[in-house]
């Protein structure tokens, strides 16, 4: 059952659907393996449905709790899915370097470059070296997350007479003001089971983008500058100053690492509020209390840039999923082509939890104002950078970096933390 009836709603580029109908894939099976489960899976399927409906291909979508492990096993053992969707560029890089992925068509990289906001950033993101060291474009970005957001409750701000800060400096001043008023400015929760620590890496990355030029950021993620470069240490320090200040964070610094990131926004909605601001990616709204209306009961603002560094513009940190071909087939190629169509994006946009940097997609299709606003931030970004920890090798980005963040909020000096992470990085070279 298609979610939106073809031809009925003007927000959608239905021409794409008719175009797609020309591709005949009857009898073909396309296996897709992705990270989405639960509601997300339903959303993803709503997009896939259009492809199978139009082309006649059968789509087998599956996912798993330990999908990273599973994809390694399946590709290594020689029974990969046609399309593997992964949110970790690092993992894709690893698979590509072992020759387990198929590069996308020639034109695809160009398409991204031309049609995506901050196109080159996205192309770089999806380009990896294969077994023989030859670079190729492997990962098609589809579905982005915006990370540079600060969530707040407008009415709390109103009552207390706070203004949304436009610059980092203003934000700092607001922070102190809230403390002076007897409130707590921030809710920070780094807990995430085995992945505990990752929310802090987002903080650091956002700070990096606001204090350093994008190429420094890129060098950092590639370890072309050491992790304990003063630029990085400075970013760590800025974050540590917030997170380890008992007055700044709800529950005090001890609670930072122990609070689950899913629970941490809930402090915004407590009565009286436990905190006033929460920096987290766009997805976090699904962990808000039931019935919360975005834009009314809760809203967000763009994590402001540092006024002292106007040359950096409005950098945006984001994440997203990359579609790769793990087992080549006609259907797989056709599917990648489908992803290039605005329609594929619009279907999901019209629902929830989906942002796209694709400029040709109809912005009116966004299901609500909040999404639209986020979409604008994404498309208008002067710089878009993918989550740095996802770009680093897994041992660092999903290991040492996380651990380092926990040490950092535990009170370890930023320089030592950075040195430790660099040491781990050296060990895997």
């Amino acid at each position: 059952e298609l979610k939106f009836k073809p031809g009925e709603d003007a927000r959608f580029t239905w021409a794409n659907f008719d175009e797609l109908k020309k591709v005949d894939l009857k009898g073909e099976t396309l296996s897709i393996f992705g990270p989405w489960r639960g509601e997300d899976e339903a959303l993803a399927r709503s997009v896939l449905d259009y492809f199978s409906e139009a082309t006649g291909a059968t789509i087998n979508y599956s996912s798993s709790e330990n999908y990273e492990q599973q994809i390694v096993i399946d590709t290594q053992a020689g029974s990969p899915p046609n399309i593997a969707i992964l949110p970790q560029p690092g993992l894709i890089q690893d698979l590509a370097s072992k020759g387990l992925l198929t590069p996308l068509d020639e034109g695809t990289a160009n398409f991204i470059k031309e049609n995506y906001g901050a196109g080159q950033s996205w192309v770089d993101l999806g380009t990896y070296k294969d077994k023989d060291g030859k670079p190729g474009f492997y990962g098609f970005p589809f579905k982005a997350d915006l990370k540079s957001l600060v969530w707040y409750v407008p009415e709390n701000f109103e009552e207390a007479g706070y203004e949304v800060p436009k610059t980092w400096e203003e934000m700092q001043a607001l922070t102190d003001k809230i403390v002076a008023d007897g409130g707590v400015p921030w809710c920070i929760g780094l807990g995430s089971g085995g992945a505990t620590g990752w929310p802090a890496t987002d903080w650091v990355e956002d700070i990096m983008l606001r204090t350093q030029a994008p190429d420094v950021y890129d060098k950092w993620t590639r370890n072309e500058i050491p992790f304990n470069d003063p630029a990085v240490v400075n970013a760590l320090d800025i974050f540590a100053k917030i997170a380890t200040n008992d007055k700044y964070v709800d529950g005090g610094k001890a609670a930072v690492a122990a609070t689950d990131f899913r629970d941490s926004p809930k402090g915004l909605f407590a009565v009286p509020p436990k905190c006033y601001m929460h920096r987290q990616a766009s997805f976090i709204s699904s962990f808000f209390p039931e019935g919360t209306k975005l834009g009314e009961d809760a809203d967000f603002f763009y994590l402001p840039p540092v006024a002292a560094k106007p040359e950096l513009g409005n950098p945006v940190l984001g994440g997203g999923t990359l579609f790769t071909i793990a087992k080549d087939s006609k259907a797989a190629r056709a599917f990648i082509d489908f992803l290039k169509m605005p329609l594929a994006h619009e279907i999901w946009m019209a629902q929830s939890g989906f942002l796209t940097p694709l400029k040709t997609a109809n912005k009116e299709a966004y299901g609500n104002e909040a999404l639209k606003k986020q979409g604008d931030i994404l498309v208008n970004a002067s710089t878009f950078r993918f989550d740095g920890s996802d770009l680093m090798p897994g041992k660092i980005g999903a290991g040492a970096f996380w651990t380092g963040m926990i040490d950092l909020v535990g009170g370890k000096p930023a320089a030592d933390v950075a040195a430790d992470i660099q040491k781990s990085w050296d060990a895997i070279k």
Partner: protein, 384 residues
């Protein structure tokens, strides 16, 4: 030792207490999650689950109706309504209009909001906001109040899990995987264990050593080589690589070392005279095994069956790798796992599915427990 063997009252009482303590320690975590899975998702992070049954006083926010609901009466504009939805029997003790001072006013009193606007909230949640001028607000006024909340429970989570589409199918798939994957290793292991305990053949000691050594092989190590093998075999015979047979054998392989180890140690302890007697009666090893050893090993077979059943039933990894994840092969754990949000949150689904999956293993446990009979060997031989 029946309790009759004269234990003092205190002693008997002590045993009950001790068991009660153990049971409590072992049950409390689970109980917590059971209660939690029935609780309202938002209440959960506010108060401990053990308070779920008691009425709690909570400070919350509500909202009055907006201007479009106002009525004019005696020259005053009134917005009236109730902060609680229908049927919500709570009592407001105090209220306020500022988040920082949520309990500024007693229930039933009128708060002055300035410009002649007053708001009165009564203890039943009803409110009257009056103003000399017409209201223009598009959203209602936020009202903070402290209310005693009776326990709130919901079965929504269970409904979500139990009535999700395809759950019946995956249930059957799970059984199709689990039953043979439990019985086959028992059979194979029992035969091997008997041979290793009571038959003489060269290499017996070595085999025992190997089996014990293999106990430690981490399952994950085997997955890639095995899947390669499966793919190879599948390709060679032109059959699908992922079949029920494949997963049965995989579970069998992973369960065998423990099964053999456990069964062997038990079977080796059976009284030798019984075997000898059967041997003189002319029974071959096969007959001794089937007619004497198997029935006498029921307790240990039942224990192993329970464990193997649990492992297979709760397994997701092996099923995903060797059976695939298409909807017609998806096992129950896979199905429930798919209900979870991709960000690993949705603990309410997680706890609920934990309870849903427990049910079948518990039935198995209860039905096999009666085979843990005391004194199966009683009366067979005398001696010390």
């Amino acid at each position: 030792m029946a309790s009759s063997r004269g234990k003092s009252v205190i002693g008997r009482f002590g045993v009950h207490i001790a068991v009660l303590v153990f049971v409590a320690i072992w049950t409390i975590p689970t109980l917590g999650i059971l209660v939690s899975s029935l609780r309202d998702k938002d209440q959960l992070i506010v108060s401990g689950w053990w308070t779920a049954l008691s009425t709690s006083s909570q400070t919350e926010a509500g909202r009055t109706d907006a201007a479009d609901k106002q009525v004019e009466k005696d020259g005053k504009f009134l917005i009236m309504g109730n902060l609680f939805g229908a049927g919500d029997a709570r009592t407001v003790t105090a209220f306020g209009t500022k988040a920082q001072q949520p309990t500024q006013f007693e229930a039933g009193t009128a708060a002055d909001l300035g410009e002649g606007v007053t708001l009165q909230v009564n203890d039943d949640g009803s409110y009257v906001m009056s103003s000399p001028k017409a209201f223009e607000i598009t959203r209602g006024q936020r009202v903070y109040f402290s209310a005693s909340a009776p326990p709130r429970f919901t079965t929504d989570n269970y409904r979500t899990v139990l009535f999700s589409e395809g759950i019946g199918r995956s249930f059957i798939n799970s059984l199709t995987v689990t039953i043979p994957a439990t019985i086959i290793p028992i059979l194979i292991a029992a035969y091997a264990a008997y041979a290793l305990a009571w038959m003489r053949f060269p290499g017996r000691a070595l085999l025992i050593a190997v089996i014990i050594g293999l106990l430690v092989v981490p399952l994950q190590m085997s997955l890639i080589p095995l899947l390669k093998l499966y793919n190879g075999v599948g390709l060679f015979f032109g059959v699908p690589a992922k079949t029920y047979l494949g997963i049965w054998l995989a579970h069998t392989g992973f369960g065998l070392p423990f099964a053999i180890y456990l069964l062997r140690s038990y079977i080796a302890g059976l009284p030798r005279e019984i075997m000898e007697s059967a041997r003189i009666d002319g029974a071959s090893d096969f007959e001794i095994f089937v007619k004497i050893v198997l029935p006498l090993s029921f307790p240990v077979l039942a224990s192993f069956a329970i464990f193997q059943f649990l492992w297979v039933w709760n397994d997701l990894l092996v099923a995903m790798v060797f059976l695939g994840s298409g909807s017609d092969q998806l096992v129950l754990t896979g199905k429930l796992n798919a209900l979870l949000g991709s960000r690993g949150g949705d603990w309410e689904i997680l706890t609920t599915s934990a309870f849903v999956t427990i049910i079948v293993p518990l039935i198995v446990f209860f039905s096999l427990q009666r085979y843990f009979v005391r004194g199966l060997l009683a009366g067979s031989v005398k001696g010390g």
